[in-house]
Symmetry: C2
């Protein structure tokens, strides 16, 4: 993009689609002090959106709200050009169908000022596939949130082959400025990062149910009362770094590497080359940083204790 | 098993192996008021175990400790028959090598009273493979914990082909009585449940690192700042039940079923038959129980807020 809107000049954001994700974005943008214009063709869109914002607002008051935020500062439109008029950023959250997204992107491209970046909430379609036929594909970028977008910080940012690097960087900076945890990906891969990981887990779960190996209840409890208690503190890599004891990930891979070939999931393991081993170990060392083994353990344990003490009293 | 020790008659437990898992079990059993006899051939085993128990004790004081628990009520042995003498239950947590487990199980079988159940912490070997050549295989059962065993409630219980149903049920009841969240599996499957799910996620992560698609840091943050914030409250099934909006899992599968074939992980999806669809939907309806969609959302949101407010202040 040659010209691009300055982030600080934006006071209005357009949300395209007012479902669970689009409505969640709208609530978040309102909490960050923006005016929000929502486009949704459904006759009950305004009523549903109002209920969603009401339900989300108390949560937002506890975490990410800025002073002066107004939960009523939104309008709902059925005309696309009316919805995007005056908006300095557009977040698209239409249903997850490739043809629908392509058609909608072309319509958006025609009515949104060319210096405005358009982010897509797609769960996994590469932007290259969605933006192939556009007049201004350079300002279309994936900004993939997680449900509920008003509480989960992660946003995965990645452009397509025709997206400009400036638009990618702008989107990453914009989401960071509004309080999100941004992963700016180097390359496109279907499903991005977190959904590939979730999807592998979900498919293995479906296989187990399909084979009568586990019930829905057992699968959920195996996560909520097991590994799920660790993952808010340490992701899968740092978790296994700790499982290696004081020898960390290096000990883990050098001693349990062979079990990578065990039939413990239907997903085939990659070859554990020396190169892969070294990059995983180096990544964990970087992630651990200054924190000693004991400090990481204390951090994990404090988190598990707090989570287990939460209302609900599970476990 | 014809005769089996009454759970309430047990005052001493033997822990075989004093590494991260075995030592964690020892700390937990001490906190539950048992005397613990630990077998470990390593010369520094007693010193390491002492440090592990010291580090774990403050955490145990906050959650699962019973009155009168004594952190010094343990002894360390290098002679196996000495270690198991007087123990009413044995928890084996030796290194994860099949031949080593087989040999150790035969030695244990020879010195442990035949009315005593022996639980194995194996991460994924089926008991049928480990207990094939034993004189009393009927009292050997998998009791698979998660790191750290003194804080994570989940224990997966499953017997082998030669395990008696009474021993399986006894182990499940024993772990439940000492405060664990038990999943009693109907059938053996390598890796049990949670490790099959974790392993699918871990392998997809290794593939992504191997292909340069994501870094270690990005993978961990994609979980800690994303789906990992939901999993302590709702497992993967109930999470997707909510992602389906008010239509729940039925809406999810009926509308997003085709995306099951998307290349969003390297793990092939099972065929989404009507039967599989119905059993997943029924399982989610059972799991949701009396809780409405709004109640489930409120429960999830309260949990995410509490987790995000934890010390550490991530996100």
């Amino acid at each position: 993009m040659e010209r691009i809107r300055a982030i600080n000049d934006i006071d209005t954001i357009a949300c395209i689609g007012a479902g669970t994700i689009g409505g969640g974005w709208a609530a978040y943008f309102l909490a960050r002090g923006y005016k929000v214009k929502v486009w949704d063709p459904a006759p009950d869109a305004a009523a549903k959106l109002g209920r969603l914002i009401e339900a989300a607002w108390p949560a937002l008051e506890q975490l990410d709200m800025v002073p002066g935020a107004d939960k009523n500062a939104f309008s709902v439109h059925t005309d696309l050009s009316e919805a995007v008029a005056g908006a300095g950023f557009v977040q698209e959250s239409a249903p997850e169908e490739l043809e629908l997204k392509r058609k909608l992107f072309a319509e958006l491209d025609a009515v949104v000022d060319p210096d405005v970046v358009i982010g897509s909430s797609t769960s996994g379609y590469p932007m290259t596939d969605m933006a192939a036929a556009l007049a201004h594909p350079e300002r279309f970028v994936v900004g993939h949130p997680f449900n509920p977008p008003y509480l989960i910080p992660l946003v995965e940012v990645v452009g397509g082959e025709l997206t400009s690097k400036r638009a990618e960087a702008w989107a990453a900076e914009f989401y960071e400025q509004i309080g999100k945890s941004v992963i700016l990906m180097d390359r496109e891969v279907p499903g991005f990062i977190a959904n590939r990981l979730q999807e592998a887990l979900w498919r293995e779960a479906l296989h187990m149910i399909d084979n009568g190996e586990a019930t829905v209840e057992q699968i959920d409890r195996s996560i909520t009362d097991g590994p799920g208690l660790r993952w808010p503190m340490h992701g899968p890599m740092l978790t296994f770094h700790l499982a290696g004891g004081e020898g960390g990930m290096a000990h883990m891979l050098d001693h349990f590497g062979p079990s990578l070939k065990s039939p413990w999931t239907r997903l085939e393991a990659p070859e554990l080359t020396g190169e892969l081993r070294d990059s995983v170990v180096a990544g964990c060392d970087t992630a651990a940083g200054e924190r000693s083994f004991g400090q990481l353990v204390a951090e994990r344990d404090a988190g598990i204790i707090a989570i287990r003490k939460l209302a609900g009293g599970r476990g």
